[in-house]
């Protein structure tokens, strides 16, 4: 929310190949000052390689990386004003929490008192003061994660890079830490770039996100943009749950599949209609244009998802309805449904 529109980091036509394998392919991307940016994609999409190029552990075969307008790609990692929080945390096992935090400041050759003051300050904001004299082996997973974050933050980097920072935590702790990280980012006012394969994590935390696949950038935008207006079928499928209906657009400008018609703007020809489970309206049989039958019901607490078999698609359509909502649907019930033309996407 506090992101300004100045790009602090510009990735310009960056590419990287390992032998015959292209890991990152001509990626151009602007990261704005103070934003929480997520690099999202399935494993092997090149997001970690891209992050490692920003940190300086891999050098790009093509392109430039500009930090505040200066090309940093020739600099070794120790000369870059960026810090990386490692997926394994990489805490120094032979040092206490305080020594782990002091390490980076000692490398800057700061005065002892200054180091002490800044380490104390950072331990206070990350709730680590009571663990100052513990070794990493004496900490829980969540505590280690905070030490790794603190060790990077104490350096006051221009950009903080986070490689799957929550991957090693269990679900409950992960959800808590997602909000914690976001709060922390707001507080310190540092640009965060996080790499994750978890689309939910990216949606919750990021101001903006980039979706990568096979080393190429598919879409960049705010979570709402990407969720509501996915650029292609891959993104639509990767972010959230999406129903796909194969059919074609006729000369009349209507998308048609077996037993279903939706007003959609597109060129005549074969096309795929994509619609979110929450954008399908259901009613008693015969009330709405498309008829179907319930083959499965999944209860999720707040809502339930009906799997509805229709003639329009081979896989049953998923329809999300509030759990408290009207209707006492059972498996095998017949019903009718409608797709809101304003809330679906057409891929051709």
């Amino acid at each position: 929310m506090n992101a300004s529109s100045n790009p602090i980091l510009r990735i310009e036509g960056v590419g990287k190949a390992f032998g015959p394998v292209t890991a990152v392919d001509d990626v151009t991307l602007d990261i704005r000052e103070n934003e929480f940016f997520a690099l999202l994609g399935p494993s092997g999409c090149g997001k970690t390689t891209l992050l490692r190029m920003l940190a300086g552990f891999e050098s790009p075969n093509a392109g430039r990386i500009l930090l505040e307008g200066k090309d940093i790609s020739p600099l070794p990692p120790e000369k870059r004003p960026l810090n990386l929080m490692f997926q394994s945390y990489a805490l120094f096992p032979h040092m206490t929490v305080r020594q782990n935090l002091s390490y980076g400041l000692e490398m800057e050759r700061l005065a002892r008192t200054e180091i002490h003051r800044r380490v104390d300050e950072t331990m206070a904001t990350t709730d680590l003061t009571q663990f100052a004299d513990r070794k990493p082996e004496q900490l829980s997973g969540g505590q280690k994660q905070r030490v790794a974050l603190a060790r990077a933050l104490v350096k006051r980097p221009k950009v903080l890079l986070l490689d799957e920072p929550l991957g090693a935590l269990d679900k409950k702790l992960r959800e808590k830490m997602q909000l914690e990280l976001k709060r922390m980012q707001n507080e310190v006012g540092i640009t965060f770039i996080i790499v994750t394969h978890d689309q939910e994590e990216a949606l919750v935390m990021a101001d903006r996100m980039a979706i990568l696949k096979d080393g190429r950038l598919l879409q960049v935008g705010a979570p709402e943009d990407v969720y509501e207006r996915p650029a292609d079928r891959f993104v639509a499928n990767f972010i959230g749950v999406m129903n796909f209906i194969d059919g074609k657009v006729g000369v009349d400008g209507l998308f048609a599949a077996e037993g279903l018609q939706v007003k959609a703007s597109g060129n005549a020809g074969s096309a795929t209609l994509a619609v979110r489970p929450e954008n399908i309206v259901i009613g008693p049989p015969g009330d709405l244009p498309v008829s179907g039958a319930i083959v499965d019901i999944a209860y999720h607490g707040l809502d339930r998802v009906l799997h509805v078999k229709t003639t329009a698609s081979a896989t049953p359509l998923q329809v999300r309805i509030p759990a408290s909502g009207a209707g006492n649907w059972k498996i095998g019930d017949a019903l009718s449904l409608k797709i809101d033309p304003a809330r679906c996407r057409l891929f051709q």
């Binding site: 940190a55 300086g56 552990f57 070794p76 990692p77 120790e78 810090n83 990386l84 490692f86 997926q87 394994s88 945390y89 990489a90 805490l91 120094f92 096992p93 032979h94 390490y103 980076g104 490398m107 800057e108 070794k135 990493p136 082996e137 004496q138 997973g141 280690k144 060790r151 990077a152 350096k155 090693a168």
Partner: protein, 288 residues
């Protein structure tokens, strides 16, 4: 339940029996000689005495002891200085080629210790390969006397025990999470400071294991000083050998041996404690 509890004991039994029967018992027998008087033609006279231990502390023998320790220590330091870079290079090589490189590092082990030591005589001799090479390169001075020097003894010791040290250091280096070194670079340390403050401290257990190994084997060694030192550089091992086979003073030889074994045991225990401590730290790291 009881089957599971007894099984580890059963599995260890043959090894333990072997060690006790052929190592512990003979050693204790020989060491027990140290408490008796010498027989006239070798062997022992079963009269209790502590005289032999008093003689071990005699300045003449204490000096040989210290000299052996100094030579062993020098060999240890040189071996570590050569082995560490080699082990480091192997651990950084592509995963596929590491076993092959290790194989070459250990290869000399598979030839006979005596033959390997004699090979050094051929190399270091006044008429040996190195002097011949120097002469063919145009060196006209006196041939260098390299054989039968302390350096020759140290060279032989280092050469023979180097593979152990490489293996010991390699095993700690290869288990080190490479992200630790990257984290150090990321936090602003150059390659040298990263090595001194992260890599080296975390691989010290391997250095200690390899180092103690070389030291223990070197201080008790008698073949290398006899062959490459030409008998001019007596070490404790030679002294023990002489007492048993030349001087026919078995009890004194046993007392010297006891002192030697005690030194080794103390060093090995210290090293085992250091390793146990360090592996505890690594376990904590792996549990993340």
């Amino acid at each position: 339940m009881s089957f599971n509890a007894t099984r580890p004991t059963l599995l260890a039994a043959p090894g333990v029996a072997w060690l006790v029967a052929l190592m512990v018992v003979p050693c204790l027998l020989v060491l027990s000689y140290a408490f008796f008087e010498r027989g006239v033609w070798g062997g022992v006279e079963y009269t209790f005495t502590l005289e032999n231990f008093a003689r071990v502390a005699d300045p003449l023998y204490a000096k040989i002891f210290l000299n052996s320790a100094r030579i062993a220590l020098t060999a240890t330091v040189v071996a570590i200085l050569i082995a560490y870079p080699a082990a480091y290079a192997i651990s950084r090589a592509p995963r596929m080629s590491q076993p092959i490189l290790l194989f070459f590092a250990v290869l000399p082990f598979w030839s006979n210790y005596l033959i390997r030591t004699y090979a050094w005589i051929v190399l270091l001799n006044r008429e040996g390969l190195i002097n011949n090479l120097l002469r063919s390169l145009g060196y006209t001075g006196e041939p260098l006397s390299m054989l039968y020097t302390e350096s020759a003894v140290i060279t032989g010791l280092v050469y023979n025990y180097l593979p152990f040290v490489i293996l010991a250091i390699y095993s700690t280096l290869s288990r080190l999470n490479p992200e630790l070194m990257e984290a150090s670079r990321d936090l602003g340390a150059g390659p040298v400071r990263t090595f001194l403050r992260v890599t080296l401290p975390l691989t010290l257990p391997g250095v200690a294991a390899g180092g103690v190994f070389v030291f223990v084997l070197s201080i008790g060694n008698f073949v290398t000083p006899a062959l490459l030192g030409g008998g001019r550089f007596q070490m404790v091992g030679n002294l023990v050998y002489d007492q048993f086979l030349t001087a026919n003073d078995w009890p004194f030889g046993a007392a010297l041996g006891a002192a030697l074994i005690l030194t080794m045991i103390v060093l090995l225990l210290l090293q085992a404690r250091a390793t146990a401590h360090a592996s505890g730290e690594r376990k904590g790291e792996a549990a993340q």
